[in-house]
Structure formats: C-alpha cells, structure tokens
Symmetry: C2
C-alpha cells in the first residue's frame, strides 16, 4: 500500500515507522510545510520521498493526516477534493467534532475515517518519532457510519496490525469524554508549571526541592503549544465544562484546607484514592509500567 | 549504631533496609501503633524486634520519626523527654515549621535534627518499603543551628551513606517552597482525580480513553490521606498562597480558552514549556528516568 503521511512529526513519524516495519506500507511519502522536518524524516529513514500534497494524493492508497487539528480540518477538504476513487484518508487528531462537521457534506466523505489513537508523548518533531508508540493502546474511530465499509476495513486493519484496541464512538461523545481524561489534565499541568515558574523568579533554587512527584504532575506542560492551542479551541465548550467542574472541586478543597479540617481533607483524598482502580486499568492497557517502581511519589 | 524506627511504613521501612545494608545500623527496633505493621516489618526482615516507644528510646543511638507530621510533633516531645544523653532523633516529615516550633524550647532540642528527604512513592505501609528509595535524592536539614554539632554529624553521615545531596534551609523557607513544588501538586492531582471520578458516575467507560498522560498527572491522587491531611493543616498558610496563585493562573487560562484565543493560549503554553529546563534538572538528580520513553504524553 502506498502511504502518504501529512505531518512527519512525532505521531506521523512513529506511524510511518511501524507501517513500514509491519509491511503494510510499500512506499511512504512525506508531506510537511516545514522543509526541515522533511529533511530530518528522510535522514531518519521513515519516509521514502517528500512531495507536495497534490502530487502525493494522486499516488496514494492511504493518506494519514498528522497535523494540528485546525490545519487538519482545512487540509482534509483539499484531500477529499482530489482523492483517487480507491484511496482513503484518516486523521489522528484529539478533537473530532470539528473535523467531522466540515467533512460531513463532502461528496467523498465516505473515503474518510475519523480516528484518534490514544498515544503520544510530550515531545514533538521527527526526532521524537519512535517504534511501538501505538502498541497495546486504544484507538477510537468516530462516526463510522459516515465512512464506507472499505475505508473502515483499511483503518481497522491498520490499527490491528499496530496491536491497538479499537473503540467506536460518535464524535460528540468522544469530544465530551476526552475533555476530562486528556484535555483537562493538559490545562492543569500547564497551569501548575507556570505557577511554579512564576514563583521561581523570586525564589531561586526552589527546584532543588522538587522530586519525581512534581515531575509527574507537571510533565504534560512540556507538550507542544502548536498542537494544543487548536485542540483547546475546537473543544472549548466541553473543556470549559470540565474545567468548571474541576475549579468547583478545587474551591471546595481550598475551603477545607483553609478551615484546617483534617477529617474532611482526608475524606476528600480517600475519595480521590479511588482513582487507583482506574489507573490499574490504564496500567494493564499499557505494556510497560508508566514509571519504574523506585521513582514513585515524592513527599 | 542501635536504631529505632518509629513508623515502619514506606519511609521508615525503606530507611531501615538501607541502614542495615550499608552497615550503619547494627540493630533496628521498630515502633508502630499498628501491631499489624510491626508484624509485617518483622516478616519482611527490616526490623530485628518490635518494642514500645519508651523501652526503645532507652536503648537507642538514633531514633527516626517516620509517622504523619501531626503525630510526629507530639511524639518528638515524648522522645526528647526521655532521650539518652548520647542519642539523637531525626524526623522525615514534609512540613518543618510546626515540629521545629514545638521542639524549640525543649532542653534537649540540640539532640534533634529536623530533616526532609525528598523521596517517597504514592504507596504506603511496610510492604511498600524498598531498597534505594533515597539513593541520589536531596535531603533537606532545617534550622541546623539549633542542633548540636554531634547530632548534625550523625544526620549528615546517614544521608551521605544513602548517597543523598544535603541542602540546609530554615524551616520557614522550607515550608514556603515545598508548598509550591510538592504540596500544591498533591492538591491539584487529588482534585483532578475526583473531578474525573465524578463524571465517570454518568459516563461509563470514560477511562478507556485515558492514557499515560492522564495517568501521570493524576498519580499523586493515590497518596495516603493519613499522611497528607496533617501536612496540609500544618502548612495551610503557605499552601493557600500557592493555591491562590495557581487558581488565578487557571482563571486566566480559562478566559483565554473561553475566548477561543489560540494565539494567547499558545503563548501561555510556551511559557509553561519552560518547565523543561526544570524537569531536566530533576531527571538528572534521579538515577532512573521517571517513566520509560515509550509511555510519554498521550494526546
């Protein structure tokens, strides 16, 4: 299968590597508005050639959109306008309603499958790409009834070869849920990072006191602003709802702390401990533990 | 050296293991109000015998307090009342002003060293204890001028044998800083956990969509309420200040998201990205990476 990867960064690059390794891709063409990224991708060897979008589309069996969600929404339409009859296009974005909406009335809509593989790292660019990024993870397919059976088959085969579990969901439901379990934690992590960086301006050496617990809570603050800005805009309504629920809980916890009410604080935290049940599920899903035993929570 | 460990859980147990391994402790006595914990500690072999506090004190060269900070404040006075002339006592608590205050006027104050090794995990109890917990980490000694030179020497020898970097700080400064780089992230993590658990009541299967990014941000919500309730009370003033700074930043970010202002959102996040510089420092400090390469941030 001839594959075009639009956006040869962490996600696109990692996918290219595994599609080649598993034999699904016979030839991989890279498209990226950054010349530097294409050069790197060629050097790293996960694309066979670089091309402009139109030329790449005409020669493709599968086109993968791995660019920020606002750009993806525009580029998808360009692709659907030109896509060969037998080819399919998928995207990997973290918000799905926006892109499904713009595609919904396109005469080639059925050749598009809206996907969200729950995988990634806080690093960006071709050099962050690596084998096995998708292995054992979940991939969500949205609004599958709007895609042709053939297109769904290709997408499912792809995710199965990558050893992913496929979940079907409508785009509205996807965006509502992902606001809580992904977008919200990015907002809280960035905010924590900024709060502590701010205080550091006056309190030098404060970070000598930070341990792996802080590191874990704040690590999503390393994520790419270019990826996340558009996600937050596209999913603003759901994210604001999640954020308001969080802020309300936080105000409640603040009150308990201000009252020095140890009993209520412990009760609040015991309820929070229930997250263990959830995390065990996530750990089972991931093949590797998310951190080694000896670097767990700092006091 | 005969060592008594008061509180044979994660911290006390891990310390016992390494003190024995390094040869610093010739005999280790465990004291704990939970009989079950003493039994487990004996079975796991990191204490030689269990005892009540008074009997243990009289036979000790070094007493280590590894219990919640409110209990530690009381028990420290009992210990200083009975401590043999040659012996010293240290604590490992995450808030230092409270305990230093109650000890400050005691006639045996100089035999106490106020310590905070920045190490731990989100797990609790004797079964969570393990070798190497303190290896390569930072240990803070507070108000060292109130301790005798002999007591400081023992404490420093101990931390050096554990391969820890020692930082000196006054208790007020310690509590002010640790509120930002440890206590605040526990509050945000517990709150995130509870927010998502709450929504889960209506939205089943939401956690199928959670990946390692969520896991990382929320993992401190597994921490022990019994340990953290008293810490939040003792350090409430500093924590509230940190929390207010965080909530103000969060409101600012919320406004940007509500306005769908991608430019400003990206600017906010780019400032947050600066945390990379800090995290690199923490990673260098820890001997093991806090998570393996392939499980970094989820989209």
């Amino acid at each position: 299968m001839k594959v075009t990867i639009v956006g040869v960064g962490l996600m696109g690059g990692s996918l290219a590597m595994d599609l080649r390794k598993t034999g699904i891709a016979s030839r991989i063409v890279g498209v990226d508005r950054k010349e530097e990224h294409l050069k790197q991708a060629m050097e790293l060897g996960f694309i066979d050639e670089s091309s402009d979008l139109s030329a790449a589309i005409s020669k493709s069996d599968l086109i993968v959109l791995a660019i920020p969600v606002d750009a993806a929404r525009k580029v998808l339409i360009d692709i659907l306008d030109q896509i060969p009859e037998h080819a399919i296009v998928i995207d990997l974005g973290s918000s799905k309603q926006g892109i499904c909406e713009v595609a919904s009335t396109h005469h080639n809509r059925s050749q598009y499958v809206a996907c969200h593989p729950i995988a990634g790292t806080e690093f960006t660019g071709p050099s962050a790409a690596h084998h096995g990024l998708f292995d054992g993870k979940v991939s969500i397919i949205c609004n599958r009834e709007e895609s042709s059976q053939e297109a769904i088959s290709v997408a499912e085969r792809l995710f199965k070869v990558l050893n992913m579990t496929i979940i079907n969901m409508n785009a509205e439901e996807h965006d509502r849920h992902i606001a809580y379990v992904s977008h919200l934690s990015h907002v809280t992590s960035f905010t924590l990072g900024l709060t502590v960086l701010d205080i550091e301006k006056n309190e030098k050496n404060i970070f000598n006191m930070a341990g792996s617990g802080f590191e874990s809570t704040v690590r999503l603050a390393k994520s790419s602003p270019e990826m996340w800005g558009p996600i937050f805009r596209q999913n603003a309504d759901n994210l604001l709802k999640a954020l308001d629920a969080y802020m309300e809980k936080l105000s409640g916890f603040r009150k308990i702390i201000a009252e020095r009410n140890v009993g209520e604080a412990e009760e609040f935290m015991m309820e929070g401990n229930e997250i263990r049940r959830i995390l065990e599920g996530i750990e089972l899903k991931n093949k590797e533990p998310a951190w080694p035993e000896q670097t767990k929570r700092e006091n």
